[in-house]
Subunit: 163 residues, 2 copies
């Protein structure tokens, strides 16, 4: 498979994994198609889960970036309201890590790429977190924003290059 095909396959696989896993865990989530873009377009991110990708033909990082509203919606939905969302609490962060784990696993299954391996999610908190794409022809970045109900935006940021 050509490398550009492999990148496109990864972007599509992760995008649909966010939707299918999200709905299975009880999220009301939809891709904001009009705002899908090349590059990094995120705002007010306070929680990020980063998954490293290593494989033949593709290499990079997939980031699931959330604003505070998205974090609260995800933790409340996935825990059935049993866990109070708090970025300083390891338990509510582990809920988001589990979502990222499921998305990573599903994406690799769906993409049927084979020989692509991933790291466990690295969880990051902070204020105004942004990915900074690196210049150069080999790496490409894509942002897919997802709207959550009742509130929140979850950004899927892919930074991928040929292996």
């Amino acid at each position: 498979m050509a490398s550009m095909d492999k990148l496109a396959a990864l972007v599509n696989s992760f995008g649909s994994a966010v939707l299918s896993v999200g709905r299975e865990v009880g999220l009301n989530i939809a891709l904001d198609k009009s705002k899908v873009s090349q590059g990094v377009k995120v705002s007010n991110v306070c929680v990020a889960a980063l998954i490293g990708i290593v494989g033949k033909g593709a290499r990079g990082t997939v980031s699931i970036m959330q604003n505070k509203d998205s974090f609260e919606t995800v933790v409340t939905a996935m825990s059935g309201g049993m866990i109070a969302p708090n970025v300083d609490d390891a338990v509510s962060m582990s809920v988001v890590a589990e979502l990222a784990n499921m998305i990573g696993g599903r994406a690799l299954l769906q993409s049927a790429l084979g020989q692509v391996d991933v790291t466990p999610p690295q969880m990051i908190t902070g204020e105004n977190i942004k990915n900074i794409p690196q210049p150069g022809p080999t790496m490409k970045s894509f942002t897919l924003p997802f709207n959550l109900q009742p509130k929140g935006t979850l950004f899927l940021v892919l930074s991928l290059g040929d292996a």
Copy 2:
């Protein structure tokens, strides 16, 4: 090689790679041995470079976390004062990405682990960035703080587990 040996080898390799690469690019850098610790102990981080690690027996993320003083010291030293440090500027961020690239490459060479593969550095900016270690017996985190002259602290955070 047993997995714990492999984790220890990675921690040692990355720690000595920070020192050797740092000195080669003109940094006055020293490990603050008294503050090496398990878990994540970072403060005031505004720039992070994350490298994913995938291999037989070890899997995780290595983060090079810097406070503002460290970022300014690194960009000034590596560019010979030619680049003004600015976290919103892709050029000065690429200086830090290059440092992370060199550290990752050196660490893998020194560790002689074979079959360990890494992602390109994912650059992140923000305020008060922190890694949140995930609970569970399989993942271990370590923080190695390095003091820079004339100013700044660079934190090497490893979150590693058995593959």
